[in-house]
Symmetry: C2
Amino acid sequence: MPNTSAAPTLDDVAKKAGVSTATVSRCLNTPDRVVEATRKRVMIAVDTLGYTPNFAARVMAAKRTFTIGAIIPTMENAIFARGLQAFQEELHTLGYTLLVASSAYKPEVEKEQIRTLVARGADGLLLIGHDRDPEIYKYLDRQKVPALVAWSFQNDGRLPSIGFSNRDAMRALTDKVIALGHERIAMISGISQGNDRAQQRIEGLKDALIARWFGNATLNIIETPYDVENGAEAFKRLMSGPSKPTAVMCGNDVLAVGALRQAIDMGLRVPQDVSITGFDDIELARIVSPALTTVHVPHQEMGRKAACEVVAMVEKESSGRSVKLQTEIKQRASLGPPPV
Amino acid sequence: MPNTSAAPTLDDVAKKAGVSTATVSRCLNTPDRVVEATRKRVMIAVDTLGYTPNFAARVMAAKRTFTIGAIIPTMENAIFARGLQAFQEELHTLGYTLLVASSAYKPEVEKEQIRTLVARGADGLLLIGHDRDPEIYKYLDRQKVPALVAWSFQNDGRLPSIGFSNRDAMRALTDKVIALGHERIAMISGISQGNDRAQQRIEGLKDALIARWFGNATLNIIETPYDVENGAEAFKRLMSGPSKPTAVMCGNDVLAVGALRQAIDMGLRVPQDVSITGFDDIELARIVSPALTTVHVPHQEMGRKAACEVVAMVEKESSGRSVKLQTEIKQRASLGPPPV
DNA sequence: CCAGAGCTTGTAAGCGCTTACATAAGTAAT
DNA sequence: ATTACTTATGTAAGCGCTTACAAGCTCTGG
């Protein structure tokens, strides 16, 4: 009985074209192993039936999905968008599909998402940052799924990584702030727990401070989830303390934008009354006014390189090389000398 | 021979626990159909082996993926982010997983993505807008994959839809602009080709204009892809024409933000010299200064309702009801009376 | 003490595809 | 014409799971 009501299968195509399923499969996957006349007949059958191969069946049989999974902390803001876009595009040209999941910055969720993506047959994985339960690395080993870390470079990490030094970048930015004469510097950081990028950014700031002999007494850090509102609130808190900072350095642009808006709402002039800096250089940083001084991260390059590397790992052409990219300080209007 | 090197399978678990594969499967899917003692033994085996069920195999056997696919025009900006987030969350509570793809506003890409998601076994689909090749609807019919449209309400659409009237919303906003005394109104629209939301927004603007007896002569429309830069550029073009508009209404907030930045860069005061409006009410609209007057879309509600409906369709509890949601005009600082 | 009901567990048939291997057909050289 | 390849196609064995059905068991009531 021909399969009429449901979606057509390979078998239906084979019958219609008067060939075996193997031939149809070959037409679709290795067309040059089938003679012209047959191929044409098969293709017509495929078209008239509107046949689409069943992905699950194909995966089962071929043990390959040509799918790469990526788990990013958030889709809410644009921090990972540009890099992921580039990652996706490069993957596409390499013949792979991207599956994205987000963890909401929660380690348990990330763990679950990793299992989900692996169960779905991801041939390889892109993870953000190095800081996670070692259990996960064991699991990936056992499942033999290659994984790569992005957005954070670390030479001795458990996984190879394509990224930059969050610490060095923040150090450099802080040096610049200090060079302008700021002494009362505060920071609005993301939650550092389980987030090595946030940790490293804090460390970088401390490095610079210590190098200039500023004690910790002058360093006021608030940790809060990355969100515009939280940035605004933290800024308000900072400015209502006993010793108001002359520069507020933020863990990323999202927090910085919140701080900036709050400053304006409070009637403060930026940078005359207070300087604000961000990190990441997302589109937002140039849209707000004054535009944000921030650390430019080569998102696109990172995404592209990560795609190439993870595919190389999947195809066993590489066992994972790490690449360190350079960041660049974007000096814009939100940073100036401290008020006299 | 036990399966040692590769990932563990149901069979491995069954052997380890000394039961049949059917029992293991039941432990995982319908635990109460297995007696306590056995279940415990099985679960221990599952844990010690670190077993994760193979998704493809499960799909093949059960013919269900508990996956809903969504194809949105873009992930580049936040327009769909919040709604999709809500969609995702609701889906999660209903026991479904979301698979997202983006079409970059290109009909061919959308078509391909639809086929991909269907091939991947999506039990149902969420699409944005009504305007697409009828071929696609036939394909969906044949594949028996229920689909729902969001972000655009249309009673007589080929598919059921959960959304709002882009036309009515834009009409209402324009009425407000006109009521303030504006006569020279220009529009920066997204590309309307193949995008019924963009088309409807233009129509809404025209409706309002015609109702007030303004001829088309006074309506200057530029169509450009949704992007901050494009908004800025279009604004510049508009303001360098012979008859400068006193109000520039934008097809969405992204274009409006670009226009706003350009206005500021040109030394124009908003809204004293020129008014600017957006559409969508994404986070950005409140972040920029002056804050954007825009149309608030109930993204979250839309996402949640869409999730419920698409699942109902998948589970055959509904054949697709359309829901029309209300939008709301958010009056903010970027809109004021025209200069005298 | 046994039939019948109600559980728990096992057996085995696919799901739709890829691919190793077998077979058939064509080609060229002897 | 025969042999020895090469090339095109077919056959059939899974891939790892779910689930209809069968089988075995315990327990009840007559």
